[in-house]
Amino acid sequence: MWIDLAITMVKIIFILSITVGFFAPILTWVERKQSAIMQDRIGANRADIMGFTALGLFHIMADGLKMFTKEDFIPQGANKALHTLSPIVALIPAIATFAVVPFGGQYTLWGKEVSMVISDLDVGILFVFAISSIATYGYVVAGWSSNNNWSLLGAMRTASQMISYEVAMGLTIIGVLMVFGSMQLTEIGAAQETGYWGFILQPFGFLMFFTAAIAENKRVPFDAPEAESELVAGYFTEYSGLKFGMFFMAEFIEMVTIGAIMTILFFGAWHIPFLTTADLLSMFDFLGDDFSNLVVMFLHIGVFFGKVTFFIFVQMIIRWTLPRFRYDQIMKLGWKVLLPASLLNVVGTGIWILFF
């Protein structure tokens, strides 16, 4: 019992350190640097320690220090309690979704079955959707409690956009669930071992899920809730210091979440194409039973986070390539295109499963 608890603690610490500790800070740098290189600029490179800049990586520390020491401003007329609460409500679900995200398969280490997921729920994918839609409250309450017109407009847009795209996102997933016959993320991941990855079986489902997921994350081209040129900064206009940092962190962690969910559902989770776990185990057979399992485990975790990094890269490219959709275009795409198309996708998948 104690050993199970210890293993779970190690997994929790690993996930927290890789999302909050690694991806969230590094992505602030990646976003600035990648956009700069893409646009033939140089990007952040001024923060230095003893004249050593490390490609601008010290900007992460500088930003963190700035956010910690900045004045925490609450505007007059704002609801103080809700204003303080909402960044927490926005950030916690983003981290909590990782509880069911598997980042590796099952391995036998020294006579113990170790599964690379913190909590292997039967309804895994539903848990992810349920928890991540709680974050909507954070954004809406943040906009409403700031006592600012721009914030309120941003909050309204957030609410309508999130609700519209949640429907489409849920429906695009159903095709995948039908193909793999399970809602458990570990099972969906394990089912793709043979090389029939989700995006081969569900190409339209993949495209629609990607679109809806970017819209859920409120990033450009769907950044109407925080549109800089229209609404200053949308729902977090009145936030400063670490509260602003929490909204920012939530956005970046959600990017990681989307990358992880997409990897599991459509891109073969932790598997290397055409190499099953048994193949890998026999490849590292000379190390002994336990150590070969260990090596394969680390390889799978590396492959998984490599794929996640690739999807974050793609999201960044999309963010710095496309212009913002108009509000009516967002609604039109959500209700008139994605919703019927995802329903058709469900029907088509059903027919395909029935006859083949």
Partner: protein, 189 residues
């Protein structure tokens, strides 16, 4: 000149499906990204880069301005280590911002070769508008626009430069002098 924007452009089915056009845009941005990311490799092999990054690291590097650029006005110091200025006051009159202040003195024989010389000559760069009228008005080729533009300091009073700060050896101003002779000679005052 009326210009009509046709807002009812008929898009082809290919364009209306969005995805190919989005992929095309992403191809362009990724091409720039990878070319700039790995651009240093052919650069070290002696090949010229396809497209340079135009950014100038400002305080360390500065841009080379064309000779027609009007930076801060400076006074020319001739070969005899004396200012060319004869304190005629034409630049003071020409100045639209009244930033030039001259106190003339009568030559006792050692200050200059002509009758008058500037006892005091100051230009307040906080007021100067960098129009170049003083240079145009000067009959003695004594005042020139240089290519320095970054006159920044914490105290506004320090922006008033006195004569010893303004003097620049005439050798440094040779290009600008040639340019002025060409340009103002063309107009035949």
């Amino acid at each position: 000149m009326g210009y009509y924007v046709d807002r009812n452009v008929k898009m082809t089915w290919w364009e209306r499906s969005y995805i190919p056009e989005i992929l095309r845009g992403m191809m362009i941005t990724s091409r720039h990204f990878f070319r700039n990311l790995f651009g240093f490799v052919p650069f070290f092999l002696g090949k010229k880069k396809d497209r340079e990054i135009f950014t100038v690291y400002y305080p360390e590097e500065t841009m080379q301005f064309p000779i027609a650029y009007r930076g801060r006005p400076v006074l020319a110091l001739n070969e005899d280590n004396l200012p060319n200025c004869v304190a005629c006051g034409l630049c003071e009159i020409a100045c639209p911002a009244y930033c030039i202040d001259i106190i003339p003195g009568e030559n006792s024989g050692k200050q200059n070769k002509v009758e008058r010389y500037p006892v005091k000559f100051s230009i307040d760069y906080a007021i100067c508008i960098f129009c170049g009228f003083c240079e145009e008005a000067c009959p003695e080729e004594a005042i020139f626009m240089s290519d320095q533009y970054d006159i920044t300091m914490l105290d506004r009073k320090k922006m008033k430069y006195e004569m010893d700060q303004l003097l620049v050896p005439v050798a440094d101003l040779k290009d600008r002098m040639d340019f002025c002779r060409k340009m103002y000679g063309k107009w035949n005052y």
